[in-house]
C-alpha cells in the first residue's frame, strides 16, 4: 500500500478520501485504537480516536466518513466500524438514554443469520456505556415467544454481564404509547415503545437478511420491531411505504448492520443460504447503511442495486437518506 492510513489526517481532510481504497491493516487499526486508549489515560472523556482530543465532535462529524465497513470477528468489527465514524461518543453524550434495537425476533441461534449476533449487540451496549450513557436498553418486539427468542438468540446471555435485565422483549401493550407520524405517507400514527419515545438515542442494529416481502430486512425494516401492532404494516398499508414512514418517525442516530453472516435466501425466517462475510457496516444514515449492505452481499445468488429494493428507493426519494453510496465517503478497516 503506497499511502499509509492516517485517521487524523483524514479527519482533518488532509487526505483525499477514496471510497474504494482506504484499507487499514489490523496492526494499524490497533495502533490507532491504542492512541485512543492513551488519550483516555491522559484524562480525556470517553474512549475515542485521537481526533476527538483535538476537535470537538461537530468537526469530527464533518470529517467522518458516511459509511464505515469493518471486517473481522463480530465484536471487534462492530467496535472498529463505529470508531471509524468517530466512536460512540459522536452519537451518545454522557447521561443520555439509549435504546439499541437488534433483531431478536426469531428463536434461532446466531448461525442461522435470522438474528443479530449477540457479540455485536453486546459490543454496542458496552460502547454506549463507555460513552457515558445513563441508561442502555436492548429492546425488541419479538414475533415468536419472547422467552424462546431471548434465550435462543443468545443475546440475553451475552449482555447479562454488561447489565442484568438490559435485554427485554416487550410484548405487552402496557409498554407502548400512541405516537403520531407527522411525515407518514400511509401510516399516520401507531403505538410505539414508550422507552424509545423517551430515549435520546436510537441505534438500529439488524442482521443482514433477505426478506420475501421487503426484499431485504436491514436497519429500516428492523424498526418494525419497535411498534405494537406489526400486522397492520402488512394488512392496512403498503409494507414498503409503511417501513419508510417508520424511518421518518424514528430517525435512528446510528445504523449498525451485522453482516458477519448474511441470510441470502429464504429470509426472514430461514432456513436459507447463509454467507459468512465477517463484515459490520455502520452509518449515521440508515438508508446508506442498507444500500451498502445490499451491494455487499449477493441475494438469491445474484447481485442487486439498492434501488431494486423498494423501501430503500422510497426512503431515498423522500429525503430520509441516500442510497447512492457511490457518491458517499466510505472507510474500511480489517481487524
Amino acid at each position: 500500500m503506497a499511502k499509509r492510513f492516517s485517521p487524523l489526517a483524514r479527519l482533518h481532510g488532509f487526505e483525499p478520501l477514496n471510497p474504494e481504497a482506504t484499507g487499514l491493516t489490523r496492526r494499524e487499526f490497533l495502533k490507532w485504537q491504542m492512541g485512543g486508549a492513551c488519550a483516555l489515560a491522559a484524562g480525556s472523556v470517553g474512549l475515542v480516536g485521537p481526533g476527538r482530543l483535538l476537535f470537538p465532535s461537530p468537526a469530527l462529524a464533518d470529517g467522518a466518513p458516511d459509511i464505515a465497513l469493518a471486517t473481522g470477528r463480530p465484536a471487534t468489527a462492530t467496535r472498529a466500524a463505529v470508531e471509524l465514524l468517530g466512536g460512540m461518543a459522536a452519537f451518545v453524550k454522557p447521561g443520555q438514554r439509549v435504546v439499541i434495537k437488534p433483531n431478536i425476533s426469531f428463536p434461532n441461534p446466531p448461525e442461522y443469520a435470522t438474528t443479530t449476533h449477540p457479540e455485536v449487540v453486546r459490543e454496542l451496549a458496552v460502547m454506549c456505556r463507555e460513552a457515558g450513557a445513563s441508561r442502555v436498553m436492548i429492546l425488541d418486539h419479538t414475533l415468536y415467544d419472547r422467552t424462546a427468542c431471548l434465550e435462543q438468540s443468545g443475546v440475553v446471555a451475552a449482555c447479562e454481564s454488561v447489565e442484568p435485565g438490559m435485554v427485554q422483549a416487550l410484548v405487552d401493550a402496557r409498554f407502548y404509547r400512541e405516537a403520531a407520524i407527522p411525515l407518514g405517507v400511509s401510516m399516520k400514527s401507531t403505538r410505539v415503545m414508550a422507552d424509545v419515545l423517551d430515549a435520546d438515542v436510537l441505534i438500529s442494529a439488524p442482521v443482514a437478511k433477505s426478506h420475501s416481502s421487503a426484499g431485504v430486512s436491514l436497519s429500516m425494516k428492523n424498526l418494525m420491531g419497535l411498534i405494537f401492532d406489526r400486522s397492520v404494516m402488512h394488512s392496512r398499508h403498503d409494507l414498503n411505504v409503511a417501513i419508510v414512514d417508520l424511518v421518518s418517525l424514528f430517525r435512528p442516530a446510528l445504523a449498525v448492520v451485522d453482516a458477519t453472516r448474511v441470510l441470502t435466501t429464504n429470509g426472514p425466517g430461514g432456513p436459507g443460504k447463509v454467507d459468512v462475510l465477517d463484515t459490520v457496516i455502520a452509518s449515521r444514515d440508515p438508508v446508506a447503511a442498507d444500500a451498502r449492505a445490499v451491494l455487499l452481499s449477493e441475494w438469491y445468488g445474484r447481485r442487486f442495486e439498492p434501488r431494486q429494493v423498494k423501501h430503500i428507493a422510497l426512503a431515498h426519494e423522500r429525503g430520509l437518506g441516500r442510497m447512492d453510496v457511490e457518491n458517499l465517503r466510505e472507510s474500511r478497516v480489517a481487524v
Binding site: 434461532n108 448461525e111 442461522y112 441508561r135 414475533l143 415468536y144 415467544d145 419472547r146 422467552t147 424462546a148 442484568p164 435485565g165 438490559m166 427485554q168 416487550l170 410484548v171 405487552d172 402496557r174 409498554f175 433477505s210 426478506h211 420475501s212 416481502s213 421487503a214 426484499g215 431485504v216 400486522s231 397492520v232 402488512h234 394488512s235 403498503d238 409494507l239 414498503n240 435466501t265 429464504n266 426472514p268 425466517g269 430461514g270 432456513p271 436459507g272 443460504k273 447463509v274 454467507d275 459468512v276 441475494w299 438469491y300 445468488g301 445474484r302 442487486f304 431494486q308 429494493v309 423498494k310 428507493a313
Partner: protein
Amino acid sequence: MTIKRAVQTASLGLFVFAVWGLARDSGMTGPGSTLARFFLRLDPVLVLGVDIAARALAASLWLAGVVALSGLVFGRAFCGNICPMGATLDVAGRLAGRNRRSRAPRDVVVAGPGPRRIKYLVLTGIVACALSGVSLVFFVSPLALITRLYGLFILPAAELGARAAMEAADPVLRALDAHSLLYASIPSHRFAGQLYIAVFFGTLFFLARRDPRFWCRYVCPAGAVIALFSRKPVLVARRVGEACTGCGACRRGCPMGAIPADPKTTVFTECVVCRACAGVCPEGAVSFTPWTAGAARATASASPVLPSRREFLAAGAIGAGAALTVLTGLAEGSSADDSGGRPLSPTAVRPPGAVPEPEFLARCVRCGACMRACPTNMLQPALFSTGVAGLFSPLAVPRRGGCQPDCTACGDVCPTGAIRQLVPTERLWAKTGTAQVLRHKCLAWEFNRKCLVCDEVCPYNALEFRRAEGLDVAVPHVIEDKCTGCGWCERHCPVTAVPAIVVEPMGALRLADGSYREAGQSEGLRIERRPKKRHIDPAAPVRNGGDGLPPGFQP
C-alpha cells in the same frame, strides 16, 4: 380445630402453588406439575372413572386406592383436611358467612332416605357410565373441578389484578428504573367458558350458605367412595366423654351435620374430622382418638340410609343411558367408529400427543392443567363444539396462540395420559392438523398485496411463496407434509375475523402408543424444524418468480 386449620391451609396452599406452577412463566413447572398431578390422582372417583372408561389400569391407581382405604383408618379426614375443594368451600363459607337465620340442624339420620344418599347415586351413575365406555367424571370429580376453578378462573383473575397494579405503579417503577419489576411480564391467560365456571361455583358457594359443605354432604362421589370405608375409623374416631351435658352445641357447629339428635353418637360416614365439635364443646367432652382407646367407646350412630336397591339400579340405568346418549350422538367423537362419513368438528384440533379421540375423551378429566400450562394460551376448553362428551376438553385455538415446536408442557402435566408425555424428538412429529390457505381472504391471493407473515412465522418452513398468474406478488402455498398444524401462521395472519390461513384437524397423528416419528415417516411426512447444522447449501431453493426476480425485489 387448629390442627385442621393448619393442615388444610398447608394443603390448599400447596395446591394453589401447584396450579400456579403449572404455567411455564411461573418458572416452577417441574414441582408444579408433579404436585398438581399428585393432587389430581388423589381423587378416587377421577382415577377409577378414567381407568374403567378407558379399560386400562394406570400405575397411579394405588394413590387413589390409598385415599379410598384411608376411610378405614381416618374416616373422611381427607375431605375435611386435605381436599382443596373442601378447603375452598370452607373458605367461601367463611367469607360468605353462614345464614344466621337458618333453622335448627336437620337430623342427619332421618326416617326414610335423606338427600345425603344422592352422592352414592352420583357415584353409581358415573361408574355405570364408565363401564359403558364413557367418562363423565369431569362433571363431578372434585379435584378436576377445583383444579379448573383455580387454573382457569382464580389465578387468571389474580394475574389480571397484578397487571393492573403494575400499570398503576409504572411511573414509580420507571423512576426507580428497576428492570426486573418494570419489565416484568405478567401472563394474561384467558379462557373460553368462564361463565360456566362462575355459575357452577357461584351456586355451590351460595348453597354452602344454607348447608355448609353442601357439595361434600350431598353430591361429592369421591366423598361417597371414602364414606363407604368410613363406618368405623380405626385411628381418629369422634368420641364424647361423660362430661357431655347434651347441650347440642356440637350439633349446631358441625359443618357436615354429622351429629345426630343424640350428640354422643357420630355418623362416621359423614364426619370429615374437622374437629369443629371439639372446638365448640363448652365441657371439652369431645375428642378424636383411636376407636378402641379409652374407657368410653366411640359410638357410631346408625348411618344415613344408603339408597335402596331400586335407586341404585335407577342411577346405574341413568349412567348407562348417559353413555348411550353420548355414544349415539353425531358430534361426540366418543365412538371408536370414526369412518362412514362421520363428521369431524373442524375445530377439534387437539393438543400434540393427544391419544385417539375416543380414548382421549375417556381419559381427559377436564382439569384444565394443560390449558394452564400452555405457554401461548392456545389450549382452550371446548364448549359444545365437540358435543356434550367433549365439554371442557382442551382444543388448540391457534388464533389465540401457536404451538411451540420445543414445548411439551401439556403432555408433561396431564394427570391421566390423555395427552402423552413426549420427548422432544417425538414431539416434533405429533402433528395436530394441517393449515389451509383461504385464498378468498388472503391479502396476496385475493388482494394482490405483499404479505408473507405466514411464511415468516412458520417454524417448519411449510409455506412456499410462488408467483401466480396475473398477480404481482408471490402467494402462499402450504406444503402439507411439512406442516404440523402448529398454527403460528393462523395466529399471526393479519386478516381479521376468520383469518386467511386456518388449521384444521386434517391429517393429525393420534396414536395411543408407539412412535410418532416412525408413524409420521411411514406416512411420508417431512417434518423438519430446521437444518441441524449451519445451513450453507449452494443449491438452496431460489424462489424465482415469473419475471426472474426473487421475492421482494423489483426490476
